[in-house]
Every structure is written in C-alpha cells, then in structure tokens.
Assembly symmetry: C2
Homo-oligomer: 289 residues x 2
C-alpha cells in the first residue's frame, strides 16, 4: 500500500493514474502538483487529489511514491525541484512518452539515474486533455512499457510493474532507445502526419467546404490532430532524431505512390495498397491477442 502518492502533472494521464490508484485502493492519500492553478483546483474539486501544490519540492516532500506526468520537456526542471527532497526509500517513476530524453534529464540533474527511478510509459491517451478528461480505467487493458537501466533497483522495478498490473495494464520492458524507435513509428509519426494533413487543409480557401463534406474516415483519421499541442511539441522535440528520418521515409513512400499514379502503374499500385491492407490486418490480429 502506498501511503502518500504524489502525482506531478494532474492532466489526463496523471489524473487517470490518481483515479486508477484510488479506485483500486492502492494508496491512502494523493497529493497533486500542477503549475496550472485552474487545473489543480479542478483536480481538488473532483476529488482526484486530496492536497494540491504548485511546487514539486513541497508536493513530493514526504511522499513514498512519486509519478511525473508532465510534458516531457519539463522533466529537467521537475527533477531539479525533486532533488532536495529525493528520498532513498521512496519510488519514483514517470509517464513520459519518450524515454531517452527522460533518462537524459535525470542524468543531467543527478549525475546518474537514481536506482529508485523507474522510467515508464503507459501507451494510452486520448485527444482530450486536462484532469476533467481523466478516468478510473484509462489503463485497463493498455500496454505499459518500462525501460529500466542496469542500475535500476530490482525492487523498485517490481513494485512499479505491480502498480500497473493492479490498474489493469499489460506491462513489458524494453531498452529505452528501442522504445523511442518503436514509438516514433507507431505514435509520434502518425501524430505529426495528422497535424500536417489538417494544417494543410485548414489553410485552403475551400477549407469550410472541405470540412463540410468530410466523412467518418476523415474524422477518425484526424482524431489525433486534436491532441494537446504542447505535449506533442515536447514529444516531437525529445524524439526528433527518430522522427525526422521517418518523415523522410514516409515522403519517399508518398512520392512512390505519386509516381505510380503518374505512370498509371496499375499493378504496382494495387500491390502497394493490398500489402498495406494486409499489414494492417496483421496489426489487428495482434491487437486481439
């Protein structure tokens, strides 16, 4: 049982961690830290947290479990704030969407990554943001990837794993660099793509009409373009060395399609589309496992 859980960043992700922990009776008390006072007050009003701080040093003092759930660009300053109150017997973990940048931020502040910090990424989200979007079951059935380092405490790792399993997640671990590579492909690139497409269409003269005649496919396809821009700015900057080459690869694929269209290369195009459909079917088959 966690005595005092401190959640830093009480948005959709952090708020859902708090709600899930309370719902599963994993902790006695929840302290929330958020720079956004309005959001913090909402978290208190909604009962998501029991006490509220705008300062991470004060909020984390005395907590035996601290989760950092801010945008990844803020991690260095969060670690800086945590340093004076860092407790050897507490567990520290996070929910950042990129893992190498988080580990690097810890190294910058602590010289080396503390053994009781367990880097983690719950692969879940929604296009809504803020504590009002948080739910009791956001992580139910979702994947959580832990990216421990050789120096990570085995006990801390097992406790974080048990926490996520208790809220219904499927936990696995991965090398931090490999995590960033895989997530760049499945999450970061699609977000960039959705933003780019909607940005492009939003600038067209016929924009209003274009959106008016868009069907359900467009709505689904662009859903992730409604995600929090600040959060995604941080993720894209933090993982830019993975994302930029993927953007180039995707433009190569798109130009290949354009070339086949220009040449009316019927068989090649059909093969291209059909192999994409087969690849997605494999994804669906795996997702059902």
């Amino acid at each position: 049982m966690i005595e005092r859980l401190c959640v830093i960043g009480v948005g959709l992700i952090g708020g859902s961690i708090a709600r899930s922990a309370r719902c599963k009776r994993l902790c006695r008390e929840i302290v929330g830290v958020d720079a956004d006072r309005a959001n913090l007050h909402k978290a208190l009003d909604l009962g998501v947290i029991d006490a509220a701080f705008t300062n991470a040093t004060e909020g984390a003092a005395g907590a035996d479990w601290v989760v950092i759930a801010t945008p990844v660009g803020a991690f260095e300053s969060v670690f800086e704030a945590l340093r004076p109150v860092w407790a050897e017997r507490a567990i520290y973990t996070d929910a950042g969407s990129t893992k190498q940048s988080v580990i690097e931020a810890a190294r910058t502040i602590f010289g080396q990554v503390p053994p009781n910090f367990v880097p983690a990424h719950p692969v879940a989200g929604a296009e809504r943001s803020g504590v009002e979007a948080a739910t009791d079951d956001l992580y139910q059935g979702k994947r959580v990837i832990l990216t421990p380092l050789p120096a990570t405490s085995y006990i801390a790792l097992k406790r974080v794993e048990a926490f996520w399993q208790a809220v219904g997640a499927k936990v696995s671990d991965m090398d931090p660099a490999h995590h960033d590579e895989v997530l760049a492909a499945t999450s970061h690139l699609p977000h960039v793509l959705a933003y780019a497409l909607v940005h492009m269409l939003g600038q067209k003269n016929a924009q209003q009409e274009i959106f008016q005649y868009a069907a359900g496919g467009f709505r689904d396809f662009t859903r992730i373009a409604s995600s929090d821009p600040k959060m995604w700015l941080d993720i894209c900057l933090a993982n830019r060395t993975q994302i930029v080459p993927l953007i180039a690869q995707l433009c190569d694929e798109l130009n290949a399609v354009a070339g086949m269209l220009d040449k009316r290369a019927t068989n090649d195009l059909l093969e291209f589309f059909a192999s994409a459909r087969n690849a997605r079917q494999q994804f669906l088959d795996q997702a059902e496992k």
Copy 2:
C-alpha cells in the same frame, strides 16, 4: 415507387443502397448484377436482391431505376453493357467516388452524357467490403453529392434527390470538377496517406513489435488502410490529377515539420500543431451542424 431497381455492383455501397431502398419501401423488386458470383449468391441468400445476373445488359433490361455501384474503373464497360437496353423513361444514377471520370466514361460510350443519367456520390463507406457488410442505414445522416450537368433532366435529378432523402441522406449538388477537388483533399489523400504509412511500417524489421505496441490512435488513424484496395486503386487513378499535387503539398508540410524539428523551432512548431488542432475543431463544429 420504383418497379424494378437494378443495382450493378452489389458490394458494401450497392448492397446498402438495395437494403435501404427495401427497408424504406422505395421499390417493388431488386435485381443485382455482379461479376463476382460468390458475392452475388451471398446477396441472393441474404435477401438483399431478388434476382441475380452476372451481365449488366440482362440485369438492367426492364429496370426503371439503375444504380451503378462498381469501382469507378469499370464504368466504361458498364455503360457499354447498358447501351443496348438504355431506356429513355428509366432513371440511371451511380455511387462513384469520383465524378469527372464517370462523366467522361459516359461521354466516351454515348457521345454525350444522357439526360437521364444523374451522377451522384454518397459520401459514406466503411473499411469492410462486400455485400455482407451492407446495412439498412448506411446512408442515414450521411451526405450525398449530386453533380448534374447542364443537360441533366430536371425530373431525373429531383427523383434521385428524393431517393437519397428518403433513405436519410443530406443531399447537395456541386460542379463535378469541384467535387473531385474537395474529395481529393478530404477522402482520397487521407486514404493514400494511411496506405503509405502502414505500407512503410509493414516493411520494417521490427514490424511485429511495432504493431504490438501501437495504441488506439494508430488503430483509428490507419482504419482506412483496411479499405478495399481495388476500389481505391480505381479512385486514385481516376482522380490522379487532383491527388498527385496534394501529395506534393503534404510532403512540403511534412518537410516543414522536419525542418522545424531539426532547428528546434519551438514556437513555430507549437503554432503549427495548435493551428491544426483549431482547424480540426472547426471541422467537428461543422460536422455537428
């Protein structure tokens, strides 16, 4: 009341036209034409159609309402098959996703577009295909765009409009070229993009792992990559003069994002993502109207 409705191409779209017409009691009898015998037998077994033909000339003979719902690449051969039995008092219409190519196919076969042919595009679909995916209410609340020509019969136009309204659709009309421009942006380009992304990821060594850790965003984003490849091959070829320049524009947008990432142009990137989110919000606001 339609006496004999002939649906040419009894897949998701054509099958749903048949089912909707039957459900709303708009016709007495439904004849189906399909080159795919297995699909045709399923349509009969499911009661979607009352009689089945593999040949459009035979199937359409005696029908007072003919809807062409094949992939758009087949329209020229369908018009050729219809020519010997074309009836002045019947109504002819279609469900093709591109309109200029359909009109061009009619011109090629008939010299000019017959006044009793009303080009139409129900903006609805699903990633499933075949008659088994057809439903009674696919068109409920969906948009249907009619693209009449100056020579189109006013009475035929009004009857086709009334048909779609009777099955619950919101009908509007548009110039054929403008239709193709708008749909290239909202439908054809997103499909190309989803195919290109999934094709690219499907070729990576880490493919299995990539798909394993993909979340709900990826599932939604790539849903349209499960669409029928043959149908989309035809659409993309038919509207390639619109689609190819949009692919180039999108690569420009993507390269702009890559450039901002390389330069860590924080403010520009945030503005880019935020304006995309705003544009999508406008789309959602309009969709609710």
